[in-house]
Amino acid sequence: MSPETTVVTGGKHRIGTSAPRPDGVAKVKGEFEFSSDLWAEGMLWAHILRSPHASARIVSIDLSGAWKIPGVRTVLTQDDVPGRKLFGLEHPDQPVFADGTVRYYGEAIAAVAADHPETARLACEAIDVTYEVLEPLVDPETAITAPPLHPDGNIFRHLIIRHGDQNIVGDVAVEGTYEVGMQDQAFLGPESGLAIPDPDGAGLELRVSTQWLHSDMWQTAASLGLPGDRVRFVLSGVGGAFGGREDVSMHIHLALLALRSGRPVKIVYSRLESFLGHVHRHPARMWYRHHATRAGDLVRVEARLVLDGGAYASTSSAVLANAACFGTGPYKVPNATVEGWAVRTNNPSCGAMRGFGAVQTCFGHESQMDKLAKALGIDPIEFRRRNALATGDRLITGQKITGALPVREVIDALAAHPSPADTRTTDDMMARPGGAGRTADVDHIQRGYGFALGWKNLMFAEGFDDYSTASCTVKGGQVSIKTACAEVGQGFVTLVEQIGRTEFGVDDVTIEQSDTTIGSAGSTSASRQTWMSGGAVKAACDSVRAKILQHVAARHGVPIEALEIRDAHIVSLNREIDITLADIDETFTDTIEFHHAPTVHLDDDGQGDAHVSFAVAAHRAVVDVDTGLGLLRVVEMATSQDVGRVLNPLQAIGQLEGGAAQGLGLAVMEEIVLDKGRVRNPSFTDYLIPTALDMPTVVIAGFIEVPEPGAPYGAKGIGEPPTISSTPAIAAAIRNATGLELPRVPVRPQDIVFAKLR
């Protein structure tokens, strides 16, 4: 009965236009309420005591010092957790507070609620914890066979992909070992929130930053020992996420403090706590051997991947699957042997960050593709083009690509983009490597060019049904839409308005509060919300539109096919019926659960249709390197990306530019530095993210629009691909400028200078 959607583009702020963000005005005025801005009458402030050791046995905890401080209202430890003692996104293995054993630097020991943040901090200092300090296990290779750090063992996952001939070799083979350092999401808005107990004390509301309200709600309710409907999660303003808010951080602690004290409790992490309090991108060690024919066709890829998962599981298992499944790049690889490990150590826990496993292996496979092209004497771009995957080809998991995958089109669009002018001899010192330091000698500046291709899956994988839920209500011409989707800055709220305007032809759409009173939207991760929650919103709008048309058709005795909704009017094709949406008094509503096509687990050989869809991007980087001092400037980044369809050009550009910046950070700036498990640089003074002086212009050489079947309006998710190939493109450009191997990112000045000295 549901009529085909007539997508009317080009209308004011509809699909395909650069519609403005509905929260834009509030954000520029400073009036948008972030989770750190929340306030309630009589609220207390929370602070968490954290372990100063990466590995230790807790001998005793004496809370009396904290209780003696005036203004302290509640002090809690693991003994006070009434429900499930463990939490975790995929597998609950992390104690709410350290349970006799400390497994990482910064693990929560106790929580305090007091009348002032400084009182709470002082109270934490007054807690006397006696530790028996242990030697931390920090080497992931050693962890594979070392005595277990946890009852669940040290191996989060061991995965083998065997595809095709396991013994074949090529005419030419190249080998390499590559490393990726630990990157932090470094979102600007610190972990924060406000918990408000219900008057009867048997439930509460949490207003928080998160990427997935329902996952937080399920985990928090389990640890509180409460039914889910007594633990309401409401999305507050989220100051960026990038994977770092997919796991529970302060949520359970905050809920416990509010229930125990009977008062609203607010928490705001300091930047130090933020670095210690959320998961990071997995550091990776990757060995590769690539085989090809003399003519330049890939024959086989062998790889061994070791990801350091840190102390607790988080999403290590899924990150490893992604690293392995996409570990040979968007290329035709007829034979592959990939063995991967994700292991437990006493380093900080690692989990989701933009690109999720594909970032690490992209650095590996793209380094190898350049090395192999050089060994074959083939242009590296032509070599990639020759081996590019396309629709109808198979992954190394045996899965056939049935959707759009315009790899060659992405390569060609970027390759066609002209190189920037050589500005090395500019008089402007600020434009040279070293910038304001005014250190660069023109004679020492070498320019290099690098090209890289990357890909990733969209949506969750391996049998996980990460559905989304949306409701649409139309009454008196007013369209309102509700989901539990976490808007984290990406602009999903803009898309909701665009969908509503497009489907009903209205100008205004009301977006209701995101909270757990509606079904799950799944996580704002895996580049999935445009497809999944966008798909749910569109399906809900489609259903309500059909109901309205059916209502009008019945009233006028015409077939529903004779009617359509156009610019907020219900009109018959012959124009005899023309009713404004606002003139229909009845309320029409529906709630839809939207599912993607089912996927399966990988089998013992790592084979199976484990993924829903794929997206490809390419980057070309131009760098100037001061080879004497090891300083460099990324002069330009250019990119092309497989996007399905651009739904909002301005927001799409923002994703491509912002993602490239995080890739640049991993390439040359960002790394969490560890010393025996201790984080040595947990601040924005010592962990450097790109500033306006570090970021070059990002040229969009092409949005490659090949509509994806099954996706709303044909649009693929676009958030992650910009962060995948940007890092290896910059590394390749530095290699091109210096002639160095540079097998590790981030590339630091000493990597360039000391390698030159050797």
Partner: protein, 174 residues
């Protein structure tokens, strides 16, 4: 806090406020946000690296996390909440300053956490240098970290704002 507390007065956006029972160690950022409920200035690093807490104190752009609230007594403090009403280039009665409007038009806002600090920094830049070149723009906002945008749309917003502000009077807003 029952240790030494004090009461003082602050002039914020032209309004005289009483700060009562405050701990001496509270930063201006904390006093603005938690005592005066002016939460436009943001708390991302609280050590002067990210610029999210930028405000004007006696006409100087600074990080309010690095100033004690009690040390700002007697100063004129301007926060993002008042920047629209003090922008001489905005159309009269416009709800947004020229810079705020340009940030929206250019798509310079994503999560928005850095935005208030950047709005303050860009007003300061364009008041000092009405027609900045690319490097002057980059240098001026290099103390404001943004993790979402990669700065591209922010540069565009600054270029738009400069054009609007340099337009002869009477030609109207963008």
């Amino acid at each position: 806090m029952n240790s030494e507390t004090l009461t003082y007065r602050l002039t914020v956006n032209g309004v005289d406020h009483s700060v009562e029972g405050a701990w001496l160690g509270e930063s201006l950022l904390y006093v603005l946000r938690e005592r005066l409920r002016l939460s436009g200035a943001k708390n991302a690093c609280e050590q002067g690296e990210c610029g999210s807490c930028s405000v004007m104190v006696d006409g100087a752009l600074l990080c309010s996390c690095l100033v004690l609230g009690a040390a700002a007594v007697g100063s004129d403090i301007t926060t993002v909440e008042a920047i629209a009403t003090t922008d001489p280039y905005a159309e009269s009665g416009a709800p947004l300053s020229t810079v705020q409007q340009a940030f929206i038009d250019a798509g310079a806002v994503q999560c928005g956490f850095c935005t208030p600090g950047l709005i303050m920094a860009v007003h300061d830049l364009l008041d000092r240098l009405p027609d900045p070149n690319d490097l002057e723009i980059r240098e001026a906002i290099s103390g404001n970290l943004c993790r979402c945008t990669g700065y591209g749309r922010i540069f565009e917003a600054i270029r738009i704002a400069a054009v609007v502000r340099n337009r002869p009077r009477g030609e109207g807003a963008a």
